[in-house]
């Protein structure tokens, strides 16, 4: 079969001067540039393309575009293996490898086709019924068996090797579809100077004018299309996007589009993405997406060689391929009868035109006369014969008698369905047109108009006139002046049709949805069992739920349901389409933002220094912070962290705390504003002093804690926790703008401006003395605990010094402009050499705050009140503040609420686990006896054993009691002693030095 035996001598838009080769199921075939995989297979006489989803029936090629339900193939190998690709849209390149799907061991002999014999159990809703019992077998037996038997292609297990891009484009007029209507709309808008984007899912423009080899302006359509394309290229504000599917309509004139940049190449060239995801924002949109031909439902209508008539013309005219040599043309309309002409012109024999309409029409009679074939009017094809290759058509004539016509191709047409999916994405319901016997668009998305076949205008002339008109309206809406231009001449073909939803009397299964293997019997069953509403029909039978979203099946199915229920089609209704119109690879949605790039990473000012000093990093939100700084010889993290803690407690350590949120609060009402925000007083804070503060949510629950420094009469500088920096800023901004707009206060984020380092430990002042420039006095007298001051360091670098402590030691936080952050870290460590100073990370930071009983995110967890964490006394009774009123609710004042205390294991050698629940000794391990849980644990280097903080029911009253820390999740059950949450320096003397 190596020769292109079904290729015509001339014609088509393929490049016959070049021959390329592709592989299908391991066999090498020739093709020409410009072929799709489907056209190349047909040219080589390959009809069988795959096996069906449920029954594994042999399937061929039904269509020539993105509506194809059958010819789904696996493309390429290795990491680029891609399943369920429509052979009808895949462009052949030299070396392309494709594989049929859903067959074993081979396409021609498939073991699972036995499913066909089991059809009675695979009917509609089969998996709801057949495998109900015994339920235990579902996961082990039924589901794996069904998945193996019914799955389609296989995705690659390897990471996607390609790059994807995600872009935004703007235009005045977006034209969707590059057929005659779309081209006219685009060129009309372009001539007026409008910014135009024309997107077409095919690799060349022209739509059905090319498929039908039409004549426009007395020249071949292909020539006319070329001229229009050339003109569009001349306009700098026009972008023509080929291989681009507009797949979704979204709010605000926004459309999603997928551009297949490199899918037609063996692999994307360097730097070029495989696909681009476009977000197109358009003032006006012209939907010129054409129409999809309706198959006719008859017995064995899924046999290879049964093809849509329009697809037959496409293969002949666009690709120079003859899909069969002896054809029966089976139609219910005038338009499709012309297929007979194209077939004969291309060298095929037309056995008969079968027109379901009694008497047929003049137009069809003319075709039959021209091609010299019999016209059987009032007749229908009731069965296709043959298994893997079509052998004939059983035709029932008007008188009711049947005859068999020998043929290898049935070109069928049940009329056309306008492609109005994009009009329904925002909720516009399709409307039934009695005149056209099809659904047309209902309420359109704002700014959208419809032209050509998509609007139900099926004639070429109508498409051209309509496209120009709609383009003119669109450009005028955008504020441009229309330019007069001639309308190209074209014929106005008859599209007269009479609906034919299904043919009864056939022996074989009559398929409605070929991709999901849904037959007329399934629809009848759904009707009998009460699933009559279209949405129920869809879900019960899975009709229209395959990758093609029922483009060739939905209308037939609901028309059949309408017949069964004796309702009209509008009464039966139509399902709505959802994005995407055609499948979109997940990688295209992600674009650049995959793996580590999924979210941005924020680097603290000392990042590069820390990295070069061997830090192990931890992700805290978007930040990458040093977790600890291992030294050679240290066996594990605990040893490093223990060393870092001991260094701080005994000498001095340095930690980058720049990630804390920093907010500049300025204005005449800054003090009054902060008094409302914080639960404790801030207006009374003296200039040059700092204070620890907590803020509550409106409902009385803790929101965040931090420090407030007063730099001037009208100038405060507040810090937040790293995790809540964004949330607190938002909260302050909301309060300022909406709750107290009369407060004259400004809030400015300063988080990024400052590199801020904690310098903690008994030697911290001595170290800083070497750093802070001489004129500035940082003696305890001048710079006591909770002091703040502006000064310079390292010979003139602007700095702010805060005497704050999170570790419980004498400590400072010192900040310099962020650009000096890296050098400043090095300078601090250099100055600290004589004290054996070390950098410490978030682990040591956490250990020391637990030793001191300071709360953190584990305790400020969205469920705790200030009283719960031992800060009840801090709440001001002299002023109002956010959370004050709702914090007085009975449930929040309940003395039984779990309250912060400390814990240590009775057996000091045991480890503690955060998350363990507390139980009184001797009670059953049930939820009713739950007394709270451990929030934070750490190994305390200072005490030499594990310690914990936790929320225990009436905790402070139970100090000294032994309770169980019960952790069924990880299998731990430890006796712990309830102690004060402050494990070291209970009197707080060390911070003052």
């Amino acid at each position: 079969m190596g020769n292109s035996s079904y290729r015509s001598k001339t014609g088509g838009l393929i490049d016959r001067s070049q021959t390329i080769h592709f592989w299908f199921d391991g066999v090498r075939y020739p093709a020409h540039p410009g072929d799709t995989l489907a056209s190349a297979l047909l040219a080589n006489g390959v009809r069988l393309a795959g096996r069906s989803f449920k029954y594994h029936r042999p399937r061929g090629i039904l269509a020539a575009g993105s509506e194809e339900p059958n010819a789904l193939v696996e493309l390429r190998t290795g990491a680029r293996r891609e399943p369920n690709t429509k052979a009808t849209v895949v462009e052949v390149f030299d070396g392309l490898e494709a594989f049929s799907q859903n067959r074993w061991p081979s396409l021609k002999f498939d073991v699972m086709s036995i499913n066909s014999l089991l059809a009675p159990i695979f009917t509609a809703g089969f998996y709801y019924k057949t495998f109900m019992w015994p339920a235990a077998l579902w996961e082990k037996l039924y589901e794996p068996a069904i998945r193996r038997a019914a799955g389609l292609g296989r995705a690659s297990d390897d990471p996607d090797p390609d790059r994807y891009e995600k872009l935004t484009a703007f235009c005045d007029v977006l034209v969707i579809g590059g057929g005659p209507a779309g081209l006219m709309a685009a060129v009309t808008a372009a001539r007026s100077g409008a910014r135009v984007i024309l997107a077409d899912e095919n690799f060349n423009l022209g739509g059905r004018a090319i498929d039908d080899a039409s004549v426009i302006d007395d020249q071949p359509a292909a020539q006319w299309v070329c001229a229009i394309e050339a003109e569009l290229d001349q306009h700098s504000d026009v972008r023509v996007m080929r291989r681009t599917s507009v797949f979704g309509t979204f709010d605000g004139g926004t459309y999603g589009a997928l551009e297949r940049v490199s899918d037609h190449l063996p692999s994307p060239p360097s730097g070029i993405p495989r696909q681009r995801m476009w977000r197109i924002v358009a003032k006006q949109t012209v939907l010129a997406s054409g129409a999809t031909e309706r198959p006719i439902v008859f017995g064995n209508n899924d046999r290879t060689g049964v093809m849509l008539a329009g697809a037959v013309r496409t293969y002949i005219n666009r690709y120079g391929v003859l899909p069969g040599r002896r054809a029966v043309v089976f139609v219910n309309n005038d338009y499709a009868a012309s297929t007979a002409r194209d077939l004969v012109r291309a060298g095929a024999a037309v056995v008969a035109i079968v027109d379901s309409r009694p008497g047929s029409t003049d137009a069809v009679r003319a075709v039959a006369r021209d091609v010299g074939c019999p016209l059987l009017d009032g007749a229908v094809v009731i069965d296709a014969l043959g298994s893997q290759r079509l052998k004939g058509a059983v035709v029932r004539n008007a008188a009711g008698s049947t005859e068999t016509l020998s043929c290898d191709l049935i070109a069928m047409s049940g009329g056309w369905n306008p492609n109005i999916q994009l009009t329904t994405h925002l909720g516009g319901k399709p409307q039934w047109s009695e005149q056209l016997s099809t659904f047309t668009s209902g309420v359109l998305p704002p700014g959208m108009s419809v032209a050509g076949a998509a609007s139900g205008e099926f004639s070429l002339k109508g498409a051209i006139v309509g496209g120009a008109k709609v383009g003119q309206v669109a450009l005028t809406q955008c504020g441009y002046q229309p330019v007069d231009c001639a309308i190209p001449s074209a014929i106005s073909e008859s599209a007269a049709m009479s609906p034919l939803w299904r043919v009864d009397g056939g022996r074989g299964k009559a398929f409605v949805d070929q991709q999901n293997d849904v037959t007329t019997l399934d629809i009848e069953l759904a009707e009998r069992e009460g699933f009559r509403a279209v949405e129920h029909l869809k879900r019960y039978t899975t009709l229209g739920m395959a990758t093609d979203q029922g483009r060739t099946s939905n209308v037939n199915a609901l028309a059949i349901m309408a017949e069964l229920t004796q309702k009209s089609i509008p009464q039966t209704g139509m399902t709505m389409a959802r994005p995407p119109y055609t499948p979109v690879a997940i990688g295209a949605f992600a674009g650049h933002h995959r793996d580590k790039h999924f979210k941005p990473t924020r680097l603290p000012p000392s990042y590069a220094w820390a990295k070069s000093h061997g830090a192990v990093f931890v992700e805290t939100g978007l930040w990458l912070r040093p977790s600890y700084f291992p030294r050679p010889g240290e066996r594990d993290w605990l040893e490093s962290v223990t060393r870092e803690v001991k260094t701080v407690r005994n000498s001095v350590g340095i930690c980058d705390v720049s990630t804390l949120g920093k907010i500049d609060v300025q204005g005449p009402d800054a003090a009054a504003f902060l008094d409302k925000i914080y639960m404790n007083a801030m207006a009374s804070l003296a200039i040059g002093r700092c204070r620890y503060g907590c803020m509550l949510r409106e409902d009385g629950i803790l929101l965040d804690d931090g420090t407030v420094a007063r730099l001037g009469q009208h100038h405060y500088f507040v810090t937040t926790t790293t995790a809540n920096a964004g949330k607190v800023f938002q909260h302050l901004e909301f309060c300022r703008q909406w709750i107290w707009p009369h407060f004259d206060v400004q809030i400015i984020s300063a988080t990024e401006q400052w590199a801020q380092y904690a310098v903690a430990g008994p030697h911290s002042r001595a170290l800083l003395r070497k750093i802070v420039d001489q004129p500035f006095d940082i003696s305890d007298q001048e710079f006591p605990y909770m002091q703040v001051g502006e000064m310079t360091v390292c010979g003139g670098v602007q700095a702010r010094l805060f005497r704050l402590s999170f570790s419980g030691e004498r400590a400072y936080e010192i900040s310099v402009p962020a650009r000096y952050g890296e050098a400043f870290m090095a300078a601090l460590l250099e100055a600290g050499e004589e004290f054996d100073a070390c950098p410490y990370g978030t682990e040591a930071l956490g250990v020391m705050r637990i030793e001191k009983g300071h709360i953190s995110g584990a305790e400020i967890n969205g469920t705790t009140t200030p009283t719960d964490v031992g800060l009840g006394a801090m709440m001001s009774r002299k002023k109002d503040f956010i959370g004050n009123v709702l914090g007085q609710r009975a449930g929040l004042l309940d003395p039984d609420r779990p309250t912060l205390v400390g814990f240590q294991p009775v057996d000091r050698g045991q480890r503690l686990r955060a998350g363990a629940h507390f139980l009184a000794r001797g009670v059953k391990e049930i939820a009713e006896n739950d007394d709270g849980y451990m929030t934070s644990v750490a190994y305390s280097p200072t005490l030499g054993h594990w310690i914990g903080l936790g929320l225990l029911k009436r905790g402070p009253q139970r100090i000294g009691e032994i309770v169980r820390a019960f952790d069924p999740l990880r299998g731990y059950d430890t006796l712990v002693e309830v102690v004060s949450p402050v494990f070291i320096d209970a009197k707080g003397e060390r911070v003052r030095g």
């Binding site: 977000r279 924020r602 500049d664 300025q666 005449p668 984020s749 390292c794 050098a823």
Partner: protein
């Protein structure tokens, strides 16, 4: 006392200048940025102070006024961002603080923002890969300002000239992620 002036580190240590076909991406290292937020009822006074000192009338919509030495970007209602060349000192911040004392909150962002300059015919094509704004010359012109996002990162962007040239300020901690995206987006233009 340690006797050295600290070395400033670029927010973009990986590169300072990248050239592509019809596109240049350069780090603007010596830029200084100071935000002004007028206190209630003081907006007009702030405007007249700026007018008398710098000779620029502060904009009331998202545009930039001024010249090479110092310019003022609209940064919200009664808010502006002063942008200037940094000569090593804090002159701009200190001048503004001195003259606007009691009239506006003046906050230095010279270290908080990292600035890149994109220039050339391909600049719009690169930015389209992450910036959801219409930069068409009829829509967004020289001296227009936008507070938006690019590649999931908040940015302040202004158009410098019709080349077109854009300056983009990102929060310093995001500089690495931002340039990572931008250089990746620009890569294709080195191949052409």
């Amino acid at each position: 006392m340690v006797e050295n002036i600290l070395q400033a580190r670029s927010a973009f240590p990986e590169f300072s200048l990248s050239r592509y076909h019809q596109l240049t991406i350069a780090v603007r290292e010596h830029i200084t940025m100071v935000s002004l937020a007028a206190w209630d009822g003081q907006s007009e006074k702030v405007q007249s102070v700026i007018q008398s000192i710098y000779g620029h009338s502060l904009p009331q919509r998202p545009v930039r006024v001024g010249g090479m030495e110092v310019s003022f970007l609209w940064f919200g209602p009664d808010r502006w961002m002063a942008v200037g060349e940094r000569d090593g000192g804090r002159d701009l911040e200190e001048n503004l603080k001195r003259h606007l004392h009691g009239l506006a909150a003046v906050v230095d962002h010279s270290d908080g923002r990292a600035v890149l300059r994109l220039s050339g015919a391909r600049a719009r094509d690169v930015l389209a890969k992450g910036l959801p704004l219409d930069l068409h010359p009829r829509v967004f012109k020289a001296n227009d300002v936008a507070i938006t996002h690019a590649s999931h990162i908040g940015v302040l962007l202004w158009q410098v000239d019709d080349a077109p040239t854009y300056d983009i300020a990102v929060p310093r901690s995001y500089a690495h992620s931002f340039s990572d995206w931008l250089l990746d987006a620009a890569e294709v233009f080195s191949a052409i």
